[in-house]
Protein backbone atom coordinates (compact mmCIF):
# COMPACT_ATOMS: atom_id res chain seq x y z
CA UNK A 1 0.00 0.00 0.00
CA UNK A 2 2.65 2.46 1.07
CA UNK A 3 4.75 1.49 -1.83
CA UNK A 4 2.02 2.23 -4.37
CA UNK A 5 1.48 5.66 -2.84
CA UNK A 6 5.14 6.60 -3.11
CA UNK A 7 5.08 5.24 -6.63
CA UNK A 8 2.12 7.47 -7.48
CA UNK A 9 3.83 10.45 -5.92
CA UNK A 10 6.92 9.85 -7.90
CA UNK A 11 5.10 9.58 -11.19
CA UNK A 12 3.11 12.71 -10.37
CA UNK A 13 6.32 14.55 -9.61
CA UNK A 14 7.88 13.35 -12.79
CA UNK A 15 4.88 14.49 -14.77
CA UNK A 16 4.98 17.93 -13.17
CA UNK A 17 8.66 18.15 -13.85
CA UNK A 18 8.29 17.23 -17.52
CA UNK A 19 5.45 19.73 -17.88
CA UNK A 20 7.65 22.34 -16.32
CA UNK A 21 10.53 21.62 -18.64
CA UNK A 22 8.16 21.75 -21.61
CA UNK A 23 7.09 25.28 -20.73
CA UNK A 24 10.66 26.25 -19.85
CA UNK A 25 11.85 25.05 -23.26
CA UNK A 26 9.06 26.92 -25.03
CA UNK A 27 9.82 30.09 -23.08
CA UNK A 28 13.54 29.77 -23.69
CA UNK A 29 13.22 29.32 -27.45
CA UNK A 30 9.85 30.97 -28.02
CA UNK A 31 11.05 32.93 -31.06
CA UNK A 32 12.37 29.79 -32.74
CA UNK A 33 9.11 27.95 -32.14
CA UNK A 34 7.22 30.98 -33.39
CA UNK A 35 9.20 30.76 -36.62
CA UNK A 36 8.16 27.15 -37.17
CA UNK A 37 4.51 27.91 -36.46
CA UNK A 38 3.34 28.98 -39.96
CA UNK A 39 4.87 25.85 -41.46
CA UNK A 40 3.36 23.62 -38.78
CA UNK A 41 -0.10 25.11 -39.31
CA UNK A 42 0.08 24.87 -43.12
CA UNK A 43 1.21 21.25 -42.94
CA UNK A 44 -1.53 20.49 -40.45
CA UNK A 45 -4.25 21.93 -42.65
CA UNK A 46 -3.10 20.73 -46.05
CA UNK A 47 -1.37 17.46 -45.19
CA UNK A 48 -2.85 16.14 -41.93
CA UNK A 49 -6.49 17.15 -42.29
CA UNK A 50 -6.74 15.22 -45.59
CA UNK A 51 -5.39 12.18 -43.75
CA UNK A 52 -8.39 12.39 -41.40
CA UNK A 53 -10.50 12.73 -44.53
CA UNK A 54 -9.67 9.11 -45.27
CA UNK A 55 -12.86 8.44 -43.28
CA UNK A 56 -14.72 9.19 -46.53
CA UNK A 57 -13.51 5.87 -47.92
CA UNK A 58 -15.49 4.07 -45.22
CA UNK A 59 -18.63 6.13 -45.74
CA UNK A 60 -21.45 6.41 -48.17
CA UNK A 61 -20.37 9.99 -48.77
CA UNK A 62 -23.14 12.49 -49.25
CA UNK A 63 -21.95 15.97 -50.29
CA UNK A 64 -24.85 17.65 -48.50
CA UNK A 65 -24.22 15.92 -45.18
CA UNK A 66 -20.43 16.21 -45.44
CA UNK A 67 -17.73 14.12 -43.78
CA UNK A 68 -19.33 14.38 -40.34
CA UNK A 69 -22.87 13.44 -41.33
CA UNK A 70 -22.49 10.68 -43.92
CA UNK A 71 -23.40 7.07 -43.09
CA UNK A 72 -20.63 4.65 -42.15
CA UNK A 73 -20.52 1.56 -44.40
CA UNK A 74 -17.27 -0.16 -43.44
CA UNK A 75 -15.31 -1.81 -46.21
CA UNK A 76 -18.09 -1.73 -48.80
CA UNK A 77 -16.22 0.75 -50.99
CA UNK A 78 -13.17 -1.46 -51.01
CA UNK A 79 -15.01 -4.51 -52.23
CA UNK A 80 -14.84 -3.51 -55.88
CA UNK A 81 -11.04 -3.39 -55.63
CA UNK A 82 -11.04 -7.18 -55.61
CA UNK A 83 -12.10 -8.85 -58.80
CA UNK A 84 -12.73 -5.86 -61.05
CA UNK A 85 -10.68 -6.51 -64.16
CA UNK A 86 -10.35 -2.81 -64.85
CA UNK A 87 -8.68 -2.19 -61.51
CA UNK A 88 -6.25 -5.05 -62.08
CA UNK A 89 -5.20 -3.50 -65.37
CA UNK A 90 -4.86 -0.05 -63.84
CA UNK A 91 -2.75 -1.44 -60.99
CA UNK A 92 -0.55 -3.32 -63.44
CA UNK A 93 -0.05 -0.22 -65.60
CA UNK A 94 0.88 1.87 -62.58
CA UNK A 95 3.49 -0.53 -61.27
CA UNK A 96 4.82 -1.49 -64.71
CA UNK A 97 5.22 2.09 -65.93
CA UNK A 98 6.78 3.20 -62.65
CA UNK A 99 9.29 0.35 -62.65
CA UNK A 100 10.25 1.25 -66.22
CA UNK A 101 10.56 4.94 -65.30
CA UNK A 102 12.65 4.23 -62.20
CA UNK A 103 14.98 1.68 -63.80
CA UNK A 104 15.57 3.47 -67.10
CA UNK A 105 15.69 6.89 -65.44
CA UNK A 106 18.29 5.80 -62.90
CA UNK A 107 20.46 4.06 -65.47
CA UNK A 108 20.43 7.04 -67.82
CA UNK A 109 20.96 9.62 -65.04
CA UNK A 110 23.87 7.71 -63.51
CA UNK A 111 25.52 7.15 -66.90
CA UNK A 112 25.26 10.81 -67.77
CA UNK A 113 26.59 11.87 -64.39
CA UNK A 114 29.61 9.63 -64.88
CA UNK A 115 30.15 10.89 -68.42
CA UNK A 116 29.92 14.51 -67.32
CA UNK A 117 32.42 13.90 -64.54
CA UNK A 118 34.92 12.42 -66.98
CA UNK A 119 34.91 15.35 -69.42
CA UNK A 120 37.81 17.76 -69.32
CA UNK A 121 36.49 20.76 -71.22
CA UNK A 122 34.72 23.00 -68.74
CA UNK A 123 32.99 25.11 -71.35
CA UNK A 124 31.58 22.09 -73.17
CA UNK A 125 30.38 20.72 -69.85
CA UNK A 126 28.54 23.92 -68.90
CA UNK A 127 26.83 24.25 -72.26
CA UNK A 128 25.71 20.63 -72.55
CA UNK A 129 24.60 20.53 -68.93
CA UNK A 130 22.44 23.57 -69.49
CA UNK A 131 20.93 21.87 -72.52
CA UNK A 132 20.13 18.54 -70.88
CA UNK A 133 18.60 20.05 -67.75
CA UNK A 134 16.40 22.42 -69.72
CA UNK A 135 13.47 20.04 -70.39
CA UNK A 136 13.03 19.56 -66.65
CA UNK A 137 11.86 23.13 -66.41
CA UNK A 138 8.89 22.66 -68.68
CA UNK A 139 5.50 21.82 -67.31
CA UNK A 140 3.92 18.61 -68.51
CA UNK A 141 1.31 20.57 -70.41
CA UNK A 142 4.05 22.14 -72.51
CA UNK A 143 5.67 18.75 -72.94
CA UNK A 144 2.30 17.42 -74.08
CA UNK A 145 2.19 20.17 -76.69
CA UNK A 146 5.66 19.20 -77.91
CA UNK A 147 4.61 15.54 -77.93
CA UNK A 148 1.71 16.48 -80.18
CA UNK A 149 4.19 18.06 -82.62
CA UNK A 150 6.16 14.82 -82.76
CA UNK A 151 3.43 12.21 -82.70
CA UNK A 152 0.53 13.55 -84.78
CA UNK A 153 -0.48 11.64 -87.84
CA UNK A 154 -0.37 14.50 -90.28
CA UNK A 155 2.97 16.28 -90.46
CA UNK A 156 4.21 14.84 -87.18
CA UNK A 157 7.98 14.61 -87.00
CA UNK A 158 8.04 10.87 -86.28
CA UNK A 159 5.81 10.09 -89.25
CA UNK A 160 7.95 12.30 -91.46
CA UNK A 161 10.96 10.23 -90.42
CA UNK A 162 9.03 6.99 -91.00
CA UNK A 163 7.99 8.17 -94.47
CA UNK A 164 11.53 9.23 -95.31
CA UNK A 165 12.85 5.75 -94.64
CA UNK A 166 10.01 4.17 -96.57
CA UNK A 167 7.37 3.23 -93.99
CA UNK A 168 3.68 4.05 -93.79
CA UNK A 169 2.52 6.71 -91.34
CA UNK A 170 1.19 5.43 -88.05
CA UNK A 171 -1.67 6.96 -86.08
CA UNK A 172 0.23 6.89 -82.80
CA UNK A 173 -2.65 8.22 -80.74
CA UNK A 174 -4.70 5.13 -81.67
CA UNK A 175 -2.01 2.59 -80.81
CA UNK A 176 -1.79 1.83 -77.09
CA UNK A 177 0.98 -0.73 -77.66
CA UNK A 178 3.66 1.88 -78.35
CA UNK A 179 2.92 4.17 -75.44
CA UNK A 180 4.84 2.55 -72.58
CA UNK A 181 7.97 3.00 -74.67
CA UNK A 182 7.04 6.57 -75.64
CA UNK A 183 6.23 7.52 -72.07
CA UNK A 184 9.58 6.16 -70.87
CA UNK A 185 11.41 8.14 -73.58
CA UNK A 186 9.49 11.31 -72.72
CA UNK A 187 10.17 10.81 -69.03
CA UNK A 188 13.89 10.37 -69.65
CA UNK A 189 13.95 13.37 -71.96
CA UNK A 190 12.24 15.42 -69.29
CA UNK A 191 14.05 14.31 -66.15
CA UNK A 192 17.25 12.37 -66.71
CA UNK A 193 19.49 15.38 -67.33
CA UNK A 194 18.35 17.04 -64.15
CA UNK A 195 18.49 13.77 -62.25
CA UNK A 196 22.14 13.40 -63.16
CA UNK A 197 23.00 16.57 -61.20
CA UNK A 198 22.39 14.88 -57.86
CA UNK A 199 24.73 12.03 -58.79
CA UNK A 200 27.21 14.52 -60.17
CA UNK A 201 27.22 16.30 -56.83
CA UNK A 202 28.12 13.03 -55.12
CA UNK A 203 30.86 12.28 -57.65
CA UNK A 204 32.39 15.71 -57.19
CA UNK A 205 32.59 14.93 -53.48
CA UNK A 206 34.87 11.96 -54.07
CA UNK A 207 38.45 12.58 -53.02
CA UNK A 208 40.51 13.13 -56.22
CA UNK A 209 43.52 11.48 -54.60
CA UNK A 210 41.80 8.12 -54.95
CA UNK A 211 41.66 8.57 -58.72
CA UNK A 212 45.24 9.78 -58.84
CA UNK A 213 46.59 6.80 -56.99
CA UNK A 214 44.51 4.48 -59.19
CA UNK A 215 46.04 6.11 -62.26
CA UNK A 216 49.50 5.58 -60.79
CA UNK A 217 48.70 1.90 -60.51
CA UNK A 218 47.76 1.91 -64.17
CA UNK A 219 43.98 1.71 -63.92
CA UNK A 220 42.14 2.57 -67.12
CA UNK A 221 39.27 5.05 -67.28
CA UNK A 222 36.79 2.19 -67.43
CA UNK A 223 38.32 0.44 -64.41
CA UNK A 224 38.22 3.65 -62.41
CA UNK A 225 34.52 4.03 -63.21
CA UNK A 226 33.76 0.45 -62.21
CA UNK A 227 35.86 0.28 -59.06
CA UNK A 228 35.78 3.84 -57.70
CA UNK A 229 32.91 5.94 -59.05
CA UNK A 230 30.14 3.34 -59.06
CA UNK A 231 30.80 2.00 -55.54
CA UNK A 232 30.97 5.58 -54.23
CA UNK A 233 27.64 6.34 -55.91
CA UNK A 234 25.93 3.28 -54.46
CA UNK A 235 24.51 4.90 -51.30
CA UNK A 236 23.03 7.79 -53.28
CA UNK A 237 21.57 5.48 -55.91
CA UNK A 238 19.99 3.28 -53.23
CA UNK A 239 18.62 6.27 -51.33
CA UNK A 240 16.96 7.69 -54.43
CA UNK A 241 15.66 4.28 -55.54
CA UNK A 242 14.17 3.88 -52.10
CA UNK A 243 12.37 7.20 -52.31
CA UNK A 244 11.11 6.28 -55.77
CA UNK A 245 9.91 2.82 -54.71
CA UNK A 246 7.64 4.32 -52.08
CA UNK A 247 5.81 6.11 -54.84
CA UNK A 248 5.43 3.10 -57.07
CA UNK A 249 1.67 3.00 -56.56
CA UNK A 250 1.35 6.63 -57.53
CA UNK A 251 1.13 7.18 -61.23
CA UNK A 252 2.72 10.37 -62.50
CA UNK A 253 -0.63 12.09 -62.88
CA UNK A 254 0.74 15.40 -64.14
CA UNK A 255 2.59 13.67 -66.91
CA UNK A 256 0.10 11.03 -67.98
CA UNK A 257 -3.00 13.17 -67.77
CA UNK A 258 -1.34 15.98 -69.70
CA UNK A 259 -0.16 13.68 -72.47
CA UNK A 260 -2.92 11.09 -72.72
CA UNK A 261 -5.76 13.26 -71.47
CA UNK A 262 -9.16 11.88 -72.34
CA UNK A 263 -7.96 9.65 -75.13
CA UNK A 264 -9.72 6.42 -74.11
CA UNK A 265 -8.01 4.51 -76.92
CA UNK A 266 -4.74 4.67 -75.00
CA UNK A 267 -6.17 3.65 -71.62
CA UNK A 268 -5.29 -0.07 -71.97
CA UNK A 269 -1.60 0.69 -71.47
CA UNK A 270 -1.50 4.16 -69.94
CA UNK A 271 -4.33 4.39 -67.43
CA UNK A 272 -2.80 4.57 -63.94
CA UNK A 273 -4.37 4.72 -60.48
CA UNK A 274 -4.22 8.50 -60.28
CA UNK A 275 -5.91 9.12 -63.62
CA UNK A 276 -8.49 6.45 -62.78
CA UNK A 277 -9.27 8.07 -59.42
CA UNK A 278 -9.44 11.49 -61.03
CA UNK A 279 -11.98 10.29 -63.59
CA UNK A 280 -14.01 8.46 -60.99
CA UNK A 281 -14.11 11.63 -58.92
CA UNK A 282 -14.65 14.33 -61.53
CA UNK A 283 -16.38 12.59 -64.42
CA UNK A 284 -18.43 10.02 -62.53
CA UNK A 285 -18.72 11.88 -59.23
CA UNK A 286 -18.02 8.69 -57.33
CA UNK A 287 -16.48 10.19 -54.21
CA UNK A 288 -16.35 7.26 -51.78
CA UNK A 289 -15.00 4.79 -54.29
CA UNK A 290 -12.24 7.15 -55.43
CA UNK A 291 -11.38 7.75 -51.80
CA UNK A 292 -11.13 4.00 -51.25
CA UNK A 293 -8.66 3.66 -54.12
CA UNK A 294 -6.68 6.59 -52.68
CA UNK A 295 -6.51 4.97 -49.25
CA UNK A 296 -5.38 1.70 -50.76
CA UNK A 297 -2.67 3.57 -52.64
CA UNK A 298 -1.37 5.50 -49.63
CA UNK A 299 -1.42 2.42 -47.45
CA UNK A 300 0.51 0.21 -49.88
CA UNK A 301 2.95 3.05 -50.60
CA UNK A 302 3.56 3.56 -46.89
CA UNK A 303 4.09 -0.16 -46.28
CA UNK A 304 6.51 -0.28 -49.20
CA UNK A 305 8.63 2.60 -47.91
CA UNK A 306 8.77 1.15 -44.40
CA UNK A 307 9.63 -2.36 -45.62
CA UNK A 308 12.22 -1.27 -48.14
CA UNK A 309 13.77 1.08 -45.60
CA UNK A 310 14.01 -1.76 -43.10
CA UNK A 311 15.78 -3.93 -45.68
CA UNK A 312 18.10 -1.08 -46.62
CA UNK A 313 18.99 -0.44 -43.00
CA UNK A 314 20.16 -4.00 -42.75
CA UNK A 315 22.26 -4.14 -45.90
CA UNK A 316 23.34 -0.58 -46.57
CA UNK A 317 22.74 1.48 -43.41
CA UNK A 318 24.20 4.70 -44.82
CA UNK A 319 21.47 4.94 -47.45
CA UNK A 320 18.46 4.34 -45.20
CA UNK A 321 15.88 7.12 -44.95
CA UNK A 322 15.53 7.09 -41.18
Amino acid sequence: MERTITYQNQSQKREAKSKNSFFREIRKNHLLYLLTLPGILLIFVFAYLPIFGIAIAFQDYNPVKGVFGSAFVGFKNFRFLIGSSEIVKVLFNTVFLNLLFILCGTIVSVSFAIMFSELNSKKFKTITQTMVTLPNFLSWTVVAMIVSVYFTYQGGVLNQILNAIGFESIIFFNEPGYWPLFLVCIKIWHGAGFGSIVYLATISGINPEIYESASMDGASRWKKICYITLPMLKPTIILLLLLALGGIFYGDFGMIYAIVGKNALLYPTTDVIDTYVYRALVDLGNVSMSAAVGVFQSFIGFMLVVTVNQITRKYSPESALY
Binding site: P38, P63, G294, F302
Partner: protein, 294 residues
Protein backbone atom coordinates in the same frame (compact mmCIF):
# COMPACT_ATOMS: atom_id res chain seq x y z
CA UNK B 1 53.84 13.42 -63.73
CA UNK B 2 51.39 12.75 -66.51
CA UNK B 3 50.36 9.31 -67.54
CA UNK B 4 49.84 8.75 -71.24
CA UNK B 5 46.27 7.83 -72.09
CA UNK B 6 45.77 4.46 -73.70
CA UNK B 7 43.77 4.00 -76.90
CA UNK B 8 40.93 2.40 -74.98
CA UNK B 9 40.70 5.41 -72.69
CA UNK B 10 40.60 7.78 -75.62
CA UNK B 11 37.92 5.78 -77.41
CA UNK B 12 35.84 5.76 -74.26
CA UNK B 13 36.22 9.50 -73.95
CA UNK B 14 35.20 10.02 -77.57
CA UNK B 15 32.18 7.82 -77.03
CA UNK B 16 31.23 9.91 -73.98
CA UNK B 17 31.49 13.17 -75.88
CA UNK B 18 29.38 11.72 -78.68
CA UNK B 19 26.70 10.39 -76.33
CA UNK B 20 26.45 13.72 -74.53
CA UNK B 21 26.23 15.67 -77.77
CA UNK B 22 23.44 13.39 -79.03
CA UNK B 23 21.45 13.67 -75.80
CA UNK B 24 21.98 17.42 -75.59
CA UNK B 25 20.71 17.87 -79.15
CA UNK B 26 17.75 15.62 -78.45
CA UNK B 27 16.90 17.91 -75.56
CA UNK B 28 17.21 21.05 -77.63
CA UNK B 29 15.68 20.13 -80.99
CA UNK B 30 12.07 19.84 -79.75
CA UNK B 31 12.28 23.47 -78.60
CA UNK B 32 13.56 24.51 -81.98
CA UNK B 33 10.78 22.70 -83.80
CA UNK B 34 8.11 24.28 -81.62
CA UNK B 35 9.58 27.78 -82.12
CA UNK B 36 9.95 27.25 -85.87
CA UNK B 37 6.39 25.99 -86.28
CA UNK B 38 5.06 28.97 -84.34
CA UNK B 39 6.82 31.20 -86.89
CA UNK B 40 5.45 29.31 -89.85
CA UNK B 41 2.26 29.86 -91.83
CA UNK B 42 -0.63 27.51 -91.16
CA UNK B 43 -0.76 26.32 -94.78
CA UNK B 44 2.94 25.48 -94.85
CA UNK B 45 2.57 23.54 -91.63
CA UNK B 46 -0.33 21.56 -93.07
CA UNK B 47 1.43 20.96 -96.35
CA UNK B 48 4.96 20.10 -95.24
CA UNK B 49 4.46 19.17 -91.62
CA UNK B 50 6.61 20.30 -88.70
CA UNK B 51 10.22 21.09 -89.41
CA UNK B 52 13.39 22.52 -87.86
CA UNK B 53 13.29 25.71 -89.96
CA UNK B 54 10.06 27.52 -90.87
CA UNK B 55 9.27 26.98 -94.54
CA UNK B 56 7.08 30.05 -94.94
CA UNK B 57 7.80 32.70 -92.34
CA UNK B 58 4.84 34.42 -90.67
CA UNK B 59 4.10 36.19 -87.41
CA UNK B 60 0.35 35.78 -87.85
CA UNK B 61 -0.04 33.40 -84.90
CA UNK B 62 1.64 35.79 -82.47
CA UNK B 63 -0.32 38.74 -83.83
CA UNK B 64 -3.54 36.86 -83.29
CA UNK B 65 -2.51 35.68 -79.85
CA UNK B 66 -1.58 39.12 -78.57
CA UNK B 67 -4.72 40.72 -80.00
CA UNK B 68 -6.85 38.78 -77.55
CA UNK B 69 -6.93 39.54 -73.86
CA UNK B 70 -6.88 35.85 -72.81
CA UNK B 71 -3.11 35.51 -72.89
CA UNK B 72 -2.50 38.73 -70.96
CA UNK B 73 -4.85 37.65 -68.20
CA UNK B 74 -3.23 34.22 -67.99
CA UNK B 75 0.19 35.85 -67.87
CA UNK B 76 -0.94 38.14 -65.09
CA UNK B 77 -2.26 35.22 -63.04
CA UNK B 78 0.91 33.18 -63.56
CA UNK B 79 3.24 36.04 -62.70
CA UNK B 80 1.22 36.87 -59.61
CA UNK B 81 1.21 33.32 -58.25
CA UNK B 82 4.89 32.84 -59.11
CA UNK B 83 6.14 36.04 -57.47
CA UNK B 84 3.86 36.09 -54.42
CA UNK B 85 4.01 32.31 -54.04
CA UNK B 86 7.79 32.07 -54.20
CA UNK B 87 8.38 34.91 -51.73
CA UNK B 88 5.87 33.55 -49.22
CA UNK B 89 7.05 29.97 -49.69
CA UNK B 90 10.66 30.96 -49.07
CA UNK B 91 9.65 32.81 -45.90
CA UNK B 92 7.67 29.89 -44.52
CA UNK B 93 10.27 27.33 -45.58
CA UNK B 94 13.28 29.19 -44.19
CA UNK B 95 11.42 30.06 -41.00
CA UNK B 96 10.83 26.36 -40.42
CA UNK B 97 14.17 25.10 -41.73
CA UNK B 98 16.37 27.37 -39.61
CA UNK B 99 15.07 26.34 -36.15
CA UNK B 100 15.10 22.67 -37.20
CA UNK B 101 18.77 22.99 -38.09
CA UNK B 102 19.75 23.99 -34.55
CA UNK B 103 20.89 21.28 -32.19
CA UNK B 104 19.90 23.45 -29.22
CA UNK B 105 16.20 23.20 -30.04
CA UNK B 106 14.74 20.48 -27.83
CA UNK B 107 11.66 19.52 -29.86
CA UNK B 108 13.57 19.53 -33.14
CA UNK B 109 13.14 15.80 -33.77
CA UNK B 110 9.38 15.51 -33.19
CA UNK B 111 8.76 18.51 -35.47
CA UNK B 112 11.08 17.05 -38.11
CA UNK B 113 9.17 13.79 -38.02
CA UNK B 114 5.87 15.69 -38.22
CA UNK B 115 7.08 17.16 -41.53
CA UNK B 116 8.73 13.99 -42.75
CA UNK B 117 5.64 11.85 -42.24
CA UNK B 118 3.75 13.85 -44.84
CA UNK B 119 6.29 12.62 -47.40
CA UNK B 120 5.35 9.02 -46.58
CA UNK B 121 1.61 9.15 -46.23
CA UNK B 122 -0.96 11.19 -48.11
CA UNK B 123 -4.64 11.74 -47.57
CA UNK B 124 -5.27 11.34 -51.27
CA UNK B 125 -6.91 13.46 -53.92
CA UNK B 126 -10.48 13.03 -52.77
CA UNK B 127 -10.16 14.26 -49.21
CA UNK B 128 -7.92 17.15 -50.28
CA UNK B 129 -10.50 18.13 -52.87
CA UNK B 130 -13.38 18.00 -50.39
CA UNK B 131 -11.38 19.86 -47.73
CA UNK B 132 -10.53 22.71 -50.08
CA UNK B 133 -13.86 23.08 -51.83
CA UNK B 134 -16.30 22.30 -49.03
CA UNK B 135 -14.60 23.23 -45.78
CA UNK B 136 -12.10 25.92 -46.75
CA UNK B 137 -14.22 27.45 -49.50
CA UNK B 138 -11.20 28.16 -51.67
CA UNK B 139 -12.77 27.20 -54.98
CA UNK B 140 -12.32 29.81 -57.69
CA UNK B 141 -9.89 31.84 -55.64
CA UNK B 142 -6.38 32.62 -56.81
CA UNK B 143 -5.08 31.71 -53.35
CA UNK B 144 -5.87 28.05 -53.88
CA UNK B 145 -2.94 28.06 -56.31
CA UNK B 146 -0.64 29.58 -53.68
CA UNK B 147 -1.46 28.71 -50.06
CA UNK B 148 -1.50 24.88 -50.17
CA UNK B 149 1.92 24.86 -51.87
CA UNK B 150 3.69 27.25 -49.51
CA UNK B 151 5.71 24.51 -47.90
CA UNK B 152 7.23 21.58 -49.68
CA UNK B 153 8.80 19.09 -47.23
CA UNK B 154 11.53 18.13 -49.66
CA UNK B 155 12.62 21.73 -50.22
CA UNK B 156 12.39 22.35 -46.48
CA UNK B 157 14.83 19.51 -45.82
CA UNK B 158 17.23 20.77 -48.49
CA UNK B 159 17.19 24.18 -46.84
CA UNK B 160 17.59 22.73 -43.35
CA UNK B 161 20.61 20.71 -44.44
CA UNK B 162 22.16 23.83 -45.85
CA UNK B 163 21.64 25.73 -42.59
CA UNK B 164 23.09 22.73 -40.75
CA UNK B 165 26.31 23.06 -42.71
CA UNK B 166 26.84 26.55 -41.27
CA UNK B 167 28.88 26.64 -38.08
CA UNK B 168 26.56 26.97 -35.11
CA UNK B 169 29.03 29.14 -33.20
CA UNK B 170 28.23 31.97 -35.59
CA UNK B 171 24.67 32.18 -34.32
CA UNK B 172 25.80 31.71 -30.73
CA UNK B 173 28.24 34.59 -30.81
CA UNK B 174 25.54 36.82 -32.27
CA UNK B 175 23.27 35.74 -29.44
CA UNK B 176 25.87 36.73 -26.86
CA UNK B 177 25.98 40.15 -28.51
CA UNK B 178 22.26 40.41 -27.79
CA UNK B 179 20.67 39.53 -31.13
CA UNK B 180 17.40 37.59 -31.01
CA UNK B 181 16.69 34.50 -33.10
CA UNK B 182 14.60 36.24 -35.75
CA UNK B 183 17.29 38.90 -36.21
CA UNK B 184 19.94 36.18 -36.49
CA UNK B 185 17.96 34.34 -39.13
CA UNK B 186 17.25 37.34 -41.33
CA UNK B 187 20.48 39.30 -40.93
CA UNK B 188 23.08 36.58 -40.53
CA UNK B 189 21.89 33.20 -41.76
CA UNK B 190 19.93 34.20 -44.87
CA UNK B 191 22.64 36.44 -46.37
CA UNK B 192 25.26 33.72 -46.15
CA UNK B 193 22.92 31.09 -47.61
CA UNK B 194 22.38 32.80 -50.94
CA UNK B 195 23.31 29.84 -53.18
CA UNK B 196 20.82 27.62 -51.36
CA UNK B 197 18.17 30.34 -51.40
CA UNK B 198 18.66 30.80 -55.14
CA UNK B 199 18.31 27.08 -55.74
CA UNK B 200 15.25 26.52 -53.59
CA UNK B 201 13.61 29.72 -54.86
CA UNK B 202 14.02 28.46 -58.38
CA UNK B 203 12.40 25.15 -57.41
CA UNK B 204 9.46 26.97 -55.88
CA UNK B 205 9.22 29.49 -58.72
CA UNK B 206 9.15 26.68 -61.20
CA UNK B 207 6.48 24.78 -59.31
CA UNK B 208 4.30 27.90 -59.23
CA UNK B 209 5.00 28.80 -62.83
CA UNK B 210 4.12 25.30 -64.02
CA UNK B 211 0.98 24.90 -61.95
CA UNK B 212 -2.04 23.63 -63.85
CA UNK B 213 -3.54 20.65 -62.07
CA UNK B 214 -4.80 22.72 -59.13
CA UNK B 215 -6.27 25.14 -61.62
CA UNK B 216 -8.03 22.32 -63.41
CA UNK B 217 -9.50 21.05 -60.15
CA UNK B 218 -10.44 24.24 -58.41
CA UNK B 219 -10.77 27.06 -60.91
CA UNK B 220 -13.56 27.52 -63.39
CA UNK B 221 -13.40 31.29 -63.74
CA UNK B 222 -11.73 32.02 -67.09
CA UNK B 223 -10.05 35.16 -65.78
CA UNK B 224 -8.11 33.12 -63.22
CA UNK B 225 -6.62 30.52 -65.56
CA UNK B 226 -2.83 30.35 -65.33
CA UNK B 227 -0.80 29.98 -68.54
CA UNK B 228 -0.16 26.25 -68.21
CA UNK B 229 -3.82 25.46 -67.79
CA UNK B 230 -4.63 27.64 -70.76
CA UNK B 231 -2.22 25.53 -72.82
CA UNK B 232 -3.85 22.36 -71.55
CA UNK B 233 -7.23 23.65 -72.64
CA UNK B 234 -5.92 24.74 -76.02
CA UNK B 235 -4.43 21.28 -76.53
CA UNK B 236 -7.71 19.65 -75.61
CA UNK B 237 -9.90 21.70 -77.86
CA UNK B 238 -8.68 22.99 -81.15
CA UNK B 239 -11.30 25.73 -81.21
CA UNK B 240 -9.01 28.26 -79.53
CA UNK B 241 -7.38 29.48 -82.74
CA UNK B 242 -10.80 29.73 -84.40
CA UNK B 243 -12.16 31.75 -81.51
CA UNK B 244 -9.23 34.12 -81.77
CA UNK B 245 -9.64 34.43 -85.52
CA UNK B 246 -13.41 34.87 -85.38
CA UNK B 247 -12.99 38.65 -85.25
CA UNK B 248 -11.10 38.90 -88.53
CA UNK B 249 -13.25 38.03 -91.55
CA UNK B 250 -10.90 37.65 -94.46
CA UNK B 251 -11.80 35.55 -97.51
CA UNK B 252 -9.75 32.36 -97.95
CA UNK B 253 -8.41 32.86 -94.47
CA UNK B 254 -6.85 29.67 -93.07
CA UNK B 255 -7.48 29.68 -89.37
CA UNK B 256 -4.11 29.28 -87.67
CA UNK B 257 -5.10 26.64 -85.13
CA UNK B 258 -1.81 24.78 -85.10
CA UNK B 259 0.42 27.81 -85.20
CA UNK B 260 -1.46 29.61 -82.43
CA UNK B 261 -0.99 26.52 -80.29
CA UNK B 262 2.72 26.64 -80.92
CA UNK B 263 2.85 30.39 -80.35
CA UNK B 264 1.13 29.98 -76.99
CA UNK B 265 3.68 27.33 -76.05
CA UNK B 266 6.57 29.61 -77.00
CA UNK B 267 5.11 32.49 -75.02
CA UNK B 268 4.76 30.22 -71.99
CA UNK B 269 8.27 28.80 -71.97
CA UNK B 270 10.00 32.04 -72.91
CA UNK B 271 10.65 33.55 -69.46
CA UNK B 272 11.84 30.28 -67.94
CA UNK B 273 14.35 29.73 -70.71
CA UNK B 274 15.77 33.22 -70.29
CA UNK B 275 15.92 33.04 -66.51
CA UNK B 276 17.27 29.56 -66.24
CA UNK B 277 20.89 29.84 -67.51
CA UNK B 278 21.53 32.59 -64.95
CA UNK B 279 20.45 30.44 -62.04
CA UNK B 280 21.85 27.18 -63.33
CA UNK B 281 25.33 27.82 -61.95
CA UNK B 282 23.99 27.73 -58.39
CA UNK B 283 22.45 24.28 -58.76
CA UNK B 284 25.33 21.95 -58.20
CA UNK B 285 26.59 24.08 -55.31
CA UNK B 286 23.17 24.33 -53.67
CA UNK B 287 22.33 20.67 -54.20
CA UNK B 288 25.78 19.45 -53.21
CA UNK B 289 25.29 20.55 -49.63
CA UNK B 290 21.62 19.79 -49.39
CA UNK B 291 20.38 16.88 -51.37
CA UNK B 292 22.24 13.79 -50.57
CA UNK B 293 21.93 13.03 -46.91
CA UNK B 294 21.14 14.97 -43.77
Amino acid sequence: MTIKESIGDRLLLIFMYAAIIVFALACLIPFVSVISSSLSTETALMKYGFSIFPKEFSLEAFRLLFKDSTIYKAYGVTIFITVVGTVLAMLVTCAMAYPLSLRSLKYRNPITFYVFFTMLFHGGLVSTYILITKYLGMKDSIWVLIIPSLINPFNMFLMRNFFKSIDESLAESAKIDGANDIYIMFRIMLPISLPAIATISLFYALAFWNKWFEAMLFISNKDLFPLQYLIKRILENAEFGKQLAASSFIPNYVTPTLTTRMATTVVTIGPIIFLYPFLQKYFVKGLLVGAVKG
